[in-house]
């Protein structure tokens, strides 16, 4: 049901812009990049290092219905979450994670010294929130993703995780981008 339920928002669009300002609305959705961390791959690496790439198309996957009418795309928020880790040994393992896009890599997020454990949703960046964990350069890279989404381009994410020791199980890192499309109608 990508063809989502805009209920009356659609009315507004459909009335083909009767007001002086036309019609303008925002469509916001969380688009998620899911990284599967493999215990076997991590533990078989002498440095306990794991990396992977993943190519996504947020425009076509999450905003197919609206992207054609979008005037701009903004990423308002970035969060991450660790899921499905089973700490059988009880050992404390730390990790550094990085997330970037493209080649050469444009860094979006670096987080160091995290305990490997299941977490709730952790805020990495939010527009206007001073608690952001992103540098100015990383925020600029994040903002450029909006243009790529608007252009319906594939985005290749480069993710890596560097562990201090072996890990006990596979687990998942979910990076969620709050993507807002500004849709306009005449």
């Amino acid at each position: 049901m990508r063809k989502t339920l805009l209920l009356l928002s659609i009315v507004s669009l459909a009335l083909f812009g009767c007001g002086e300002a036309g019609v303008e609305l925002d469509v916001t959705k969380g688009s998620t990049v899911t990284i599967q961390i493999s215990r076997n791959l991590v533990n078989s690496d002498v440095d306990n290092f794991f990396s992977t790439t993943q190519t996504v198309n947020f425009a076509d996957d999450d905003f197919e219905e609206y992207i054609g009418d979008a005037e701009s795309v903004i990423i308002d928020k970035l969060t991450y979450q660790f899921k499905d880790y089973n700490n059988i040994s009880g050992d404390l393992v730390l990790m550094d994670i990085t997330l970037g896009t493209g080649s050469p890599n444009n860094s979006i997020l670096d987080v160091f010294g995290l305990v490997v454990e299941n977490t709730g949703t952790v805020l990495a960046y939010e527009t206007g929130n001073p608690e952001s964990a992103l540098s100015a350069a990383q925020i600029a890279n994040l903002e450029s993703l909006g243009n790529q989404i608007l252009a319906r381009q594939n985005i290749t994410f480069n993710a890596s995780a560097d562990f201090t020791d072996d890990i006990d199980s596979d687990f998942v890192i979910e990076f969620t981008f709050d993507v807002t499309l500004r849709v306009t109608g005449e």
Partner: protein, 344 residues
Amino acid sequence: MKRFLKQLRVLVVLMSISTFSYAQIDFDSFLEAGVADANRLLELYMQPAFEGFGNGMNSGWYNTAKPHKFLGFDVTANVSMARVPDASRFFTFRNSEYENVFFAGGSSVETPTLFGPNLGADDLPQLSFRDFDDIDNDGDFMEELIRISAPTGLGIDESELGINAVPVPMVQLGLGLFKGTEVKLRYIPETDIDGEGNVNLFGIGVMHDIGQYLPGEKLLPIDLAGFVGYTNLSSQIYVNDAQTQSADFDASSWTVQAVASKKILFATVFAGFGYTNYDVDFGLNGTFNTESETLTDPIAFNYANSGMRANVGLRLKLLFLTLHGEYALQEFNTLTVGVGISVR
């Protein structure tokens, strides 16, 4: 001017014929939110439009209290503008009234109706839709799937039109009979609208001179009449090319009025007081397929109200040509202007 004409076209179509074809509304998408939520949101969003139309239908019936003489007649065209009250520019979206849609910032929020201001996305609240079909198969039916700006209004009062009102055009014939009685007819036979639907109108009114029953009638400085009128407008607009889905609009109204007028040279001042009623039904009929179910006749709501109405107006008669205007105090105060030809 071009925008004004576009607005006028939209409004006229919206109310008198129905917007729903011209508006190119994607009803299937509407219904993805669930029938109950779609009904509630549409009902509140459209409320001033339908109520304004109901008020406007009861206007423009008369411009004098003096019925035509036998076989005297008039043909009159009116446009009534039912002014949308400020309180109807917004409606309150309450989370408790919806199953699948909610406002995340609180338990309720004010959001524009169709006749509200035309707000930009930064000024509109966002409504969140739950993943009630569990699209991601995670067993969580309550999580937020998407957030979308609440619908904005047309912003009519910000436009060249300058008045936030529902326009109701009307054409009618008045014919004098006998004993101070005049019958008025409003009629459009079922008429095809460019293959996209149809519309028909019927209205009948009777005005009767009651001054003739009063002692000393000849001494009365004014004309007095009683008036009863009924109007019904129905339209059907096809939503799909196969014409198996339609937006159906049926509005009826009636009014009972005491009317007084005083003619001075070519000017007639008139006033009325009485009771009015309207009943407007809107339905989306046919079979609609959402991604999860098939729905039959999914949207239906009704607006009805009644109350007192008082109006005052002025008619100018230049030979056979009449120009008139009136202002009515009622639920939606209504300004009517018109032109006509009147004989006897």
